[in-house]
Amino acid sequence: MSEGLIKNIKDLAGEHNLASGTSICAGCGALETVKLFCDILGKNTVFVNAAGCMTLLAIYPFTPFSGSWLYTAMASASAGAQGIRDALDILIKKGRLSAAEDLKVIVLTGDGSAYGMGLSATSAAIDRCLDFYYLCYNNEGYGNTGHQDSAATPYGARTATSSSGAGFIGRKKDLFSIWAAHKPAYLATVIAAEPMDFARKVETAMKIKGPKMFISLAPCPTGWHYEPHQTVSIGKLAVQTGIWPLKEYKDGKVTHTKVIKEKLPVEEYLKLQGRFEHLFTPEKNLVLINEIQSSVDQYWIDI
């Protein structure tokens, strides 16, 4: 979209609102997500965090955020956001805070929280039409505790609690559809490896009042077992293989924002990651790879 301030990749380098030098793993896709989000959203923010890897961004007595931060709990960050939003509105209404001091309220959680423990509080926040941003960085597992499987873990991936030959036998929950069913003001999938798509979506959301929901696939070298420098290429492959569809929900309609004409085979994405190594060695598990491929193909046929 052209009406935004960010027209090309160079514009993205303009503002930096997240200081570097945090204790996050090298090559962390989630950190890229948070950084991009902060840069686009600006300084006037309060992040409400649920337990996860990003909790380690703000370690006493330092915070890398230009804005404010409150750690709540794994299950209730959305409720924490509601409390702050309500409080800011009350203060402004009663004249105890000037409107110029107002802040954007952002929930920052991992997938374990978003897809599981935090879902009830988030669902209720959408029900109440809370004016907030919700950013789920999805590393497809309970990363902070050593990458056990969560409800966002993909079929076939090995995790700390799915180490058999089959990997994780569950199916990734379709959180996008669950949220869409709540009719939020805005909802999108994003990935930091596609920064222009990401930026356009955040800019779109910034013009809308109400719940603005983001799920960002966040490649995780530590949990997915690949080299830190591969984060961007793996992220791009997630999109190009069709595994991570980039889409948005607005005014009751779902639109795919990047339709790949010639999708790459899922293998290209899977083979770079140690968590899928058992699909390739000691011999190729064609049955499982084909199963993953056909579920991706089916998705793109169905839409």
């Binding site: 300084k43 380690l56 804005g67 931060w69 709990a73 209730s76 702050i84 309500d86 001091e101």
Partner: protein
């Protein structure tokens, strides 16, 4: 003008919040607390109260929001009971570390299992070690007044901790008593306009709250700070109560004592059944006993010194616990005896009685039996074993229904 009306304990709690001009009320229903949030909601909806109430989907969320809104600079009131307090317990323990003020009213109700709607104190006492200050009430007037005093303590610059005001489900929540409603402007004068101090997020003054620490020394530092603040609340409470007496005439010492000056014996308990202990003491006194009641209003911070002063010279003290710590006994008993152990002075033989679980009545006759037993133990000079207040008749009743339902194997 001050006026007196007949209200339930729940309505008295709501009045406390209304008169304190709370800005924000995160809410979730649970019997026997519901009347509090419905009353507040009614006042807001008909314009009698300038506040905002948000319904949450759980107490875990509700208490999170109470804390988060407090970090953002508004005066917050919330209320729950029993399973709700337990469901929010993660946050009850987390939020004192944020060092923000608010008042939470807990309407005590026994915990599952079995399920009950009736009162005992295991819910509130599970929050004992959380860092929240605890005020226990025995009358409807005291509930209203304690909410107001609660804000005074909670918001004090040296405290900044949540205050839980406890009242008994059914016995107080649904019992109407005459309650004096103070004038709003006097309450505001007493509390002052809300001062958020550092608790405010704004574009020009960002803050970070609830951070992680990576070393035990920092953790110890902050935990001990919260402990010291909680202890400090004893003095702050006394000042707040004194000022309250000056403004409103009613007197709330950290421990209520009834006919203790010349007493040889006493009951020690918290909550509404203590009013029956007073009647029992009166009756016993008419038969020549020198007996009274000691009722701690503050359980956290625990008024150890004040307790020692009151108990000095008493021969026998019966601690009546409306709670039970499985595998140990009465929680209040443990608290009381630990305050006496090793202290210099002449302290009583203490007996531990568990009663009133799940709202079971404690009868005047039972208080009289307890007093008699305490006298025997004093004569023997030994601490009695823990006793459950439970009659042979009650046991037979249970056996009977079990027999009818065929639930017990022979």
């Amino acid at each position: 003008m001050t006026h007196q009306i007949l209200v339930t304990g729940n309505a008295a709690a709501a009045w406390g919040a209304r008169l304190s001009s709370v800005d924000y009320i995160p809410a979730f229903p649970i019997t026997p607390q519901t009347e509090i949030i419905e009353t507040l909601s009614g006042w807001i909806n008909n314009g009698e109260m300038d506040s905002h109430l948000t319904m949450y989907e759980s107490e875990h969320s509700m208490i999170t929001a109470a804390g988060s809104a407090a970090t953002a600079g508004v005066r917050v009131f919330t209320a729950t009971s029993s399973q709700g307090l337990m469901y929010g317990m993660e946050m009850i323990f987390a939020i004192p570390g944020w060092r923000v003020p608010f008042v939470l009213v807990n309407v005590s109700r026994g915990l599952a299992s079995p399920i009950t709607l009736e009162c005992d104190h295991n819910d509130i006492l599970a929050a004992r070690d959380s860092g929240c200050i605890q005020i226990h009430c025995s009358t409807c007037q005291e509930i209203l007044d304690s909410v107001i005093i609660g804000y005074k303590i909670s918001e004090h610059i040296k405290i900044r901790l949540p205050v839980i005001v406890n009242l008994d489900g059914f016995y107080l929540s649904f019992t109407r008593e005459p309650v004096e409603i103070p004038e709003q402007h006097k309450v505001i004068q007493y509390l002052g306009e809300y001062n958020p101090m550092n608790d405010i997020y704004s574009a020009s003054a960002p803050q970070a709250r609830g951070l992680i620490v990576l070393v035990g020394s920092q953790y110890s530092y902050f935990r001990y700070q919260a402990h010291l603040a909680n202890l400090k609340a004893l003095d702050v409470y006394k000042e707040a109560a004194e000022e309250f007496t000056l403004q409103f005439g009613r007197n709330y010492s950290v421990i209520e004592s009834y006919k203790i000056d010349d007493a040889e014996y006493c009951f020690i308990m918290v909550g509404s059944f203590s009013t029956k202990a007073k009647s029992a003491a009166d009756l016993l006194r008419s038969e020549g006993w020198r007996i009274g009641l000691i009722r701690p209003r503050l359980i956290r911070p625990f008024p150890s010194e004040e307790l020692r002063i009151l108990l000095s010279g008493i021969k026998g003290a019966a601690v009546i616990d409306q709670n039970i710590s499985f595998g140990k006994g009465g929680i209040l008993y443990t608290e009381i005896t630990s305050a006496l152990y090793g202290a210099d002075g002449n302290y009583p033989v203490t007996g531990s009685f568990i009663g009133g679980l799940g709202g079971r009545d404690i009868t005047i006759d039972e208080f009289i039996v307890i007093a008699g037993e305490m006298r025997e133990y004093v004569q023997k000079g030994k601490q009695p074993d823990t006793r459950l207040l439970f009659t042979e008749d009650e046991l037979q009743q249970i056996k009977k229904i079990q027999l009818i339902a065929g639930t017990e194997n022979s």
